[in-house]
């Protein structure tokens, strides 16, 4: 399967819409173990991305992703701003000059982005962060693709793994970010960043499933 530039743009639009719909929900999650702004942050950031997108929609995919990353960096703030910003900057750098993406490209896009998150935030698996949604998703996707599955099938597995990873954050004790200050009191709550990460990945799947 070939992923086209309009599909990438469509993905970003869907992310903006989905994060806006889930603004209250994400903020709610953040109020339990953080400072009640994650949904507000993400929806503000992708709102800005939507303003910027028309101006770069005719550039290459790498450029579109980098612009997304820079916009997030300069409009989200908080922990998630630099982290998601780095995600898109790095994925953009990995996709430099590309006008369409292969199955492997899409995996590399996500992989480069997640590597960026880890490099900036130094999260370890089990720290109760967005990484706990991304890591199992990447692994699942990689395995599926290696098994010869097609992109949609691989992505479906990845989304399921991200969802499971997101849920798995519930019993974890946070060791990174604001939630870590709560110590044991962070246990029992789903991580907001892992949740937005799942939503972002799921939006990609839904985009590619559209005709």
């Amino acid at each position: 399967m070939v992923v086209t530039k309009p599909q990438i743009v469509r993905w970003l639009e869907k992310v903006a819409a989905v994060l806006d719909e889930n603004k209250e929900y994400l903020t709610q999650l953040d109020s339990a173990i953080g400072d009640a702004d994650h949904g507000i942050n993400m929806s503000r950031g992708f709102g800005k991305v939507m303003e910027k997108l028309p101006g770069v929609a005719d550039k290459d995919i790498g450029n579109i992703l980098k612009t997304t990353g820079m916009t997030l960096i300069s409009s989200v703030g908080g922990a998630s701003g630099p982290l998601y910003g780095t995600f898109f900057m790095r994925s953009g750098m990995a996709m430099a000059a590309k006008e369409e993406l292969s199955d492997q490209d899409l995996y590399q896009l996500l992989k480069a982005g997640v590597d960026g998150i880890v490099q900036r935030g130094r999260a370890q698996p089990g720290d109760k962060t967005m990484y706990d949604a991304w890591l199992p998703a990447l692994e699942a996707m990689k395995n599926k693709l290696e098994d010869g599955a097609d992109l949609l099938a691989a992505l479906k597995t990845a989304v399921a793994a991200a969802e499971q990873g997101m849920k798995n954050t519930i019993p974890m004790q946070a060791k990174k970010g604001r939630a870590s200050y709560l110590g044991e009191r962070s246990i029992g709550h789903q991580d907001p960043g892992a949740t937005s990460s799942y939503l972002i990945l799921n939006a990609l799947l839904e985009t590619l499933q559209e005709q």
Binding site: D35, A36, D37, I73, S74, G77, G78, P82, G121, K175
Partner: protein, 357 residues
């Protein structure tokens, strides 16, 4: 939600506009990206101090811009770290050629955003150093957390290093002094009520009529323990002993190596207070607690310090690092020496702190 605000999207901008209108002699406000800076910046021959963080902690940081304190402050959205372009533009605006010191409160968001800003400024040829404030003893562990939060000591560091910069300290000297102040300071806070983030529209957390939250941060994030409401004396004792009896604190922080142009990991250990120490005692309102109640806290704090052999040589009492309209207080004790005291006493002229001029 009861606040003196207009539309929630405009809260930060309008408050900044109000500051600009109120203090044209002291400061200017740059919008998009947002930062507050000294009216006379860049100040020739002086290292520039830049701090910043989420809004909602006023007067920190914007209210501390002016002679003898900050050269610029970068306000994020309410309780949300500012973005790197703010600190980068602010640094360019206030740098006089002597370099820029970033004073960063240790929250993942602030740290990550200031890191990017430092990289950007360095790439532009600006000499940058960056010091973390991590003084909140309510966070015990650095191995299993993002490390201690930056709270009350930030205010004291901005004043003291501001005095030093004014006196001609070099960038490295300012950074060293700032690191020392951070290592000498410890804080702990508590909340009687929650605060409400304007954009959220409802209280960040719920506290029963007879409950309080001990070890709260400054963003309405839950604290270490929730307990039944106690008297001012008991509360003061919990906070003061939490600070005074806190043991050595060791952690690794990332500092920007200005020569090498890269991040280096530095291991720091803060020594506990000991009898004979001279301290600055800072009793801070979380925003909704009036100064009258702070004096009751100060009264007990003075008694405890005396009993523990600590001599209070200076104090600061009032709302300086707040959490919107939250009721509650925090205590900061800062060990002093001749250098710290000299720059604490130095003149300062900002909207939020002023003396000697």
């Amino acid at each position: 939600m009861k606040k003196l605000i207009n539309a929630v999207e405009d809260v930060v901008r309008e408050q900044l506009e109000g500051m600009a209108l109120a203090h044209p002699d002291l400061l200017k406000v740059h919008f998009d990206p947002n930062f507050v800076y000294r009216a006379d910046a860049p100040v020739k021959g002086k290292v520039a101090l830049v701090s910043g963080g989420g809004s909602g902690h006023e007067p920190m940081h914007g209210g501390f811009v002016g002679m003898g304190m900050l050269d610029a402050a970068c306000p994020g959205e309410v309780f949300t770290s500012p973005t790197p372009d703010q600190m980068y533009e602010a640094a360019k605006t206030v740098n006089s050629g002597e370099g820029v010191l970033f004073i960063v409160k240790n929250y993942t968001g602030d740290v990550l955003n200031f890191e990017t800003a430092a990289e950007l400024a360095h790439a532009d040829g600006i000499a940058v150093q960056s010091i973390l404030i991590d003084d909140d003893v309510a966070v015990k562990d650095s191995l299993y957390t993002a490390g201690r939060r930056g709270v009350g000591t930030t205010v004291l560091a901005e004043k003291i290093v501001g005095g030093a910069a004014e006196a001609g300290y070099s960038l490295k000297q300012c950074a060293d002094l700032c690191r020392k102040v951070n290592q000498y300071g410890r804080s702990m806070g508590m909340a009687l009520t929650s605060c409400t983030v304007p954009a959220a529209g409802k209280p960040t957390f719920e506290l029963g009529e007879d409950e309080m939250e001990i070890g709260i941060g400054i963003h309405g994030e839950p604290g270490r323990t929730r307990m039944k409401l106690k008297t001012a004396d008991e509360i003061t004792e919990i906070l003061a002993l939490g600070i005074i009896e806190d043991g050595p604190y060791t952690r690794t922080v990332r500092e920007w190596d200005n020569e090498k142009g890269e991040w280096v990991d530095v291991e720091l250990t803060d020594e506990p207070f000991k009898p004979g120490d001279q301290v600055i005692a800072f009793v801070n309102s979380m925003g909704g607690t009036p100064v009258s109640e702070l004096y009751a806290v100060y009264r007990k704090l003075a008694q405890i310090c005396e009993a523990k052999g600590l001599t209070i040589v200076r104090n600061l009492i009032g709302p300086y690092i707040t959490s919107l309209e939250m009721q509650g207080c925090s205590i900061t004790l800062l060990k002093t020496d001749e250098e710290i005291l000299r720059f604490w006493d130095a003149p300062v002229k900002t909207p939020g702190l002023r003396w000697g001029i």
